[in-house]
Amino acid sequence: MGSVGAKDVPVLMSPDGKRIDGRRADELRPLAITAGALKQADGSAFVEWGANKVMAAVYGPREVHPRHLQQNNKAIVQCRYNMAAFSVDERKRPGLDRRSQEISKVIAEAFESVIFVEEFPRTSIDVYIEVLQANAGTRCAGLVAASVALADAGIPMVDLVPAVAVGKVADSIVLDLKKEEDNYGSADLPMALVPQSGRLVLLQMEGHMTRDELHRALDLGVAGCRKIYDVMRQALLDKYRADGPAPGVAA
């Protein structure tokens, strides 16, 4: 998704360690999450993360269509990650390209790793992610939105799943790449963490990193996920806190 017209590579890291948007290496872009953003879905969430805007919805567990995908002993988790035509600089043709299909697959597998799927045999849990405005890190933003939507839909799971990308720009390991860093950086490593177990359920990487850099990238990503986790939790608490019995209700 390069922009039109050749441009010089921007200065990605200033001498005093500031990134293109003024962040430090370990700083996230601003993140805001709304739990329960849609009426029709069983669960939903809207994520604004830097210049990304992503909506996620969950339907299910429900009957499987087509039926031959049914599993006798567990629910299947189906994911559709889709980018709106207007979400990127150059209009994207509607429909799922190979990139979207791959992302859909790894996100579905990440969630199937944490959902107690055996509680709902022969059903489907459908996770839909619509990227409305993209600025690098949409698979992580989509995963975060979908994880909050799953909790909003009452799906039993081990934990919420925060996700973030770590990358390498101008020889520095940095957290949460924005578009210019993604385009001109030398490595990108998206990951998703299960805080309860400390394990990663999504991990991809592209670019060049030394062993030492990779170690630091993993540590930085895990620390970033823990910050994102707090925002995810808060979004759900904000929606449901008003639902709890008010203090002072006589039992």
């Binding site: 029709q40 879905a41 429900r62 035509a85 207007f86 979400s87 619509e130 409305l132």
Partner: protein, 260 residues
């Protein structure tokens, strides 16, 4: 899909209510749900708007890209309209190729935009027969709680009315400029519930409806597009009275898109 079988007694109840001039959500037969338009929702588009009618939500993004004029209209730019009924928006929609319903929504909105001459396509011509702008109107349905067509049309008009032509980016001119809007068409959809005809049907009412009629009007007093949908029928007198209702509501709705 068939998971969404409507309970017959709910359908009957909706029809009974309509007979005495009432509706499930307490509205009168001629009451629209609360509508809103938020322009500029998506920065990656050249123009955009999030429209809501009740809980139904449609996001429209406009993209302008250089293209080649059609041979039969060498002095005009081109317009492409597309609606996505993504499965995120309703338990009724499934992943897969575009549903005929999505195609109907795009076509009905496209007809209104085109027939009303919302934008002057000749202004989208850069070099006769050689180079023009292609204007993509992409509508993304986010929540289908009934009456997608009106919501999509409101989103499209709101987005077009807040579009900047990316002249600089594509080296067409020295400065970007707002896309000029000539006319403001909006769609008004009605559903027949027995002998009563309600405006702006909810998703439950659509399920009970025996006939749907969409009428697009512009601010100059013209009807610019119509579409009868679903199984059912309308008399010419029905249509005449609905046209009056469409103008009454249309003037308010188009202000929402224009002044947002």
């Amino acid at each position: 899909m068939s998971e969404e079988v409507a309970a017959e007694i709910l359908t009957t109840h909706i029809l009974d209510l309509a007979r005495s001039g009432r509706r499930l959500d307490g509205r009168g037969l001629d009451d629209y749900r609360k509508s809103s338009v938020v322009p500029g929702f998506v920065a990656s588009a050249d123009g955009s708007a999030l429209a809501r009618i009740g809980e139904t939500a449609v996001l429209c993004g406009i993209k302008l890209e250089p293209g080649k004029p059609y041979p039969d209209t060498p002095n005009a730019g081109t317009l492409t309209t597309n609606a996505e009924l993504v499965p995120l928006s309703s338990p009724m929609f499934e992943p897969g190729p575009p549903h005929p319903r999505a195609i109907e929504v795009s076509r009905v909105v496209d007809r209104a935009i085109r027939a009303a001459e919302t934008i002057d396509l000749t202004k989208l011509c850069v070099t006769s027969g050689e180079k023009c702008w292609t204007c993509y109107v992409d509508m993304h349905v986010l929540d289908h709680s009934g009456n997608i067509i009106d919501t999509a049309s409101l989103a499209a008009l709101g987005a077009l009315a807040h579009t900047t032509m990316p002249n600089v980016r594509f080296g067409v001119a020295e400065a970007d400029a707002p896309l000029a809007i000539q006319h403001y068409p909006v769609e008004c959809t009605f559903a027949r519930l027995g002998e009563a005809i309600v405006i702006d049907p909810s998703v439950e009412e659509e399920g009970a409806a025996n006939g749907r009629l969409t009428i697009a009007t512009d601010e100059a007093g013209n009807v610019v597009a119509m579409q009868k949908g679903l199984i059912g029928a309308f008399s010419p007198d029905d249509v005449k009275s609905l046209v009056d209702r469409a103008f009454r509501h249309g003037d308010r709705q188009r202000r929402l898109a224009k002044d947002a």
